[in-house]
Symmetry: C2
Subunit: 404 residues, 2 copies
DNA sequence: TGACTTTAGTTCGAGTCTCGTACTTAATTG
DNA sequence: CAATTAAGTACGAGACTCGAACTAAAGTCA
């Protein structure tokens, strides 16, 4: 029920500044007059806000390039655009077989991406992540960029405090240690989030679910996880564990799952289930493996049949999730991407059959377009969440950081 | 991503006033000094806000009754409390076998409830609802009460605009007609909402889920529906249809459902499934019917076995929902209430077995305490949502309505 | 070429709101 | 009956938004 904090006039200003920033981010550059229309703020107010943002380095007057209106009547406006320069957000991903980093600027442009494979020797390589974080922050600093925050995506249950790793089956990192470590390293506020949540956030801001306020993201490798976006925000649940869909009792009820039970969804649609059914070996990465399966499917009808069965089970689970959450778009990521329509088509068909009522519209099923960097990108975007919500004031930060 | 509207100083004030109102509602009466502490507002500001609210009739100085501090040192404070008097919210429920109304005051006290059975002749009796609405509003007006808004709960899919009934299998009321009709009648803003959503809202504000920011409500009669509360707010989904859980493929996969498919959850745990399994007839209302079944179960182990099986299927579905949504509390309503532990105990056991991971905590399973009026009560509470969110200013309303 | 029109952006004063400080008020304590 | 303590109020300062008036920069048209 709303934020439980008092509102001073200063907060008022931050909120309106954030409103302008959001407008610029979502609808693109605009003159002050246009901004006043879009935000319903008074022209004078917009003028003041833009001046402040300009001084903070958040926006610039985009030197009238492509923005010249052709046959305009009066004085031409000077379009204002988000500036990519000083402010950046850092997204990191710690996974079992790789670590990744994405640097995103305020304008939404990716400034740097790096992925490093990690030796698969039982645990996760936290050192690889901190090393990557150190390198990337150094490079940002060298380029005169200023971090507004960083977020680490991990394949684990993370508490609602956005710091504490509560359960990490494959990682050796429980507790708030990871957040603390990275924070010390990058010198900016750090969040830790579940990777599926981050990927969902990425898809809704940059990927296949742009424009959808209600989206569902399904990550698929060995395990299956979901990220839920409702009203543009992540649904986290009481402890922060929402989206644990891998062990829903769906699909082949006799399939043995890694968790020790039978009938879990991921035992039917996880990568291992597919490999077992088609008799193929696991390659270095899930994406390579899935690509190999897709290649084989082109020749082998048996493989296609397996994928059809998997698609049907995917559809079954999605029908359930669609009923519960009513998303506008469902994005499939992970190993489903290389398999494409081989899985998507039967999933769509099953989804249609199982929708609860005639009035319900089938959510659009799409493949992720962000690749392996989805989670890190979403993490970087998360770092800007406070800025666009008006909780973090770039103007006030000048003291702690010069601009270019 | 936040509200996309500009913030004026007037809105600022409304927000802070709402903050005070919420504090009074949730934490009870308090002196101005205490309020200042609770809200982090300045003492002076609280003074101004309270004065405004007092003038509007929203609060009074609670004549120092039970609120006297015993051995206090300085000047005693005068506790301020929400006033029940002029401002009330109206909740209505239109169902297949009854219509109900609840009048709730600003302080959260129920001022009036009325339930009227309706003849079961095929369709829903919209006239009964409008009649009830007319009577109740008349009585409110006579008592000098002023409606801040009304909400109608219906067993139907309602669009996100909170007005349009999109799909009502048993009702003859599609489109925005119902909202328009009631609005003309009561002379206050009217919303239409799904009944499970309203009941969930009621439980989280007045019932078994008070204090839980994340709750799940399961309504059970012939059909099964869910209401989802995340971060204190209803999760509605893209079209407003979230919570349609009755047709998830769970339980006995061969069970025939009214929707024409097999294996729907409500075909396993709905009232008809129970009656068929125990060979008992349906009585006038689901609650009476369930009470009869519970009575029989005390003597007949066969009936108990059936209810155990139902409980297990309930637990199976809840395990799935708990994984997806991670609620803190799950409240069972409808016909589950009379059955009580007969269903709850096996549901808990199954839920424990099926939880996705060791870190997850089983949500607390509770029975609804609000009875048949849950939906209407939640609807009434919804009418106050704008007030407590700071979107509706009671102070400004003086013009249109005197006070007692 | 030069007045006229049209739109963009700024300046300025008024109005609101919150906040901190100082002050008044009302109780208890010794 | 002071002294103490805490609640509530009055008041001025500061921050912010807003509307209106004003200036700036283009095109239009005679």
């Amino acid at each position: 029920m709303s934020a439980d904090r008092p509102a001073s006039t200063e907060r008022l200003r931050r909120q309106n500044a954030a409103l302008v920033l959001r407008s610029l981010r979502q609808l693109g550059p605009a003159t002050r007059a246009e901004l006043a229309q879009r935000t319903a703020l008074a022209k004078a107010t917009v003028g003041v806000i833009v001046a402040g943002l300009e001084e903070a380095g958040a926006v610039t007057e985009s030197s009238a390039e492509s923005e010249v209106r052709s046959g305009a009547r009066g004085r031409p406006g000077r379009p204002v655009a988000l500036r990519g320069e000083p402010w950046v957000g850092l997204g990191l991903e710690l996974n079992v077989d790789y670590v990744a980093a994405v640097v995103l600027d305020l304008a939404g442009q990716v400034r740097l991406t790096e992925t490093r494979p990690v030796a698969l020797d039982g645990g996760v390589d936290e050192a690889a992540l901190t090393g990557l974080a150190r390198d990337v922050t150094a490079r940002c600093r060298a380029a005169g960029q200023v971090l507004v925050g960083a977020t680490v995506a991990v394949p684990a249950l993370v508490r609602g405090d956005d710091r504490t790793v509560a359960w990490a089956p494959n990682l050796g990192v429980e507790g708030p240690g990871l957040a603390d470590g990275v924070e010390a390293l990058v010198g900016a506020p750090v969040r830790v989030l579940n990777d599926a949540n981050c990927a969902a956030y990425a898809e809704s801001h940059h990927g296949a679910a742009v424009g959808a306020e209600h989206a569902l993201y399904l990550t698929g490798t060995v395990g299956i996880g979901a990220g839920i976006v409702d009203r543009g925000e992540l649904v986290r649940g009481a402890a922060g564990f929402a989206g644990e869909v891998g062990h829903m009792p769906i699909g082949d009820s006799s399939a043995r799952c890694g968790c020790g039970r039978q009938g879990c969804w991921e035992a039917s649609i996880g990568l291992h289930a597919v490999l077992a059914a088609v008799g193929m070996p696991e390659l270095d990465t899930p994406l390579e493996t899935a690509a190999a399966v897709a290649e084989r499917a082109a020749l082998d009808p048996g493989v296609r049949a397996v994928l059809t069965r998997v698609g049907e089970d995917v559809g079954l689970g999605l029908a359930m999730l669609a009923g519960v959450l009513d998303p506008e778009v469902v994005v499939l990521g992970g190993y489903f991407v290389p398999l494409g329509e081989l899985v998507l088509a039967p999933a769509r068909a099953t989804l249609d059959r199982r929708l609860a009522s005639a009035a319900q519209v089938r959510p659009e099923l799409r493949l992720s377009t962000l690749g392996i960097q989805a989670a890190a990108l979403g993490a970087a975007e998360q770092a800007f969440a406070d800025v666009f919500a008006g909780d973090l004031d770039l103007t006030a930060r000048e003291a702690s950081a010069g601009e270019a």
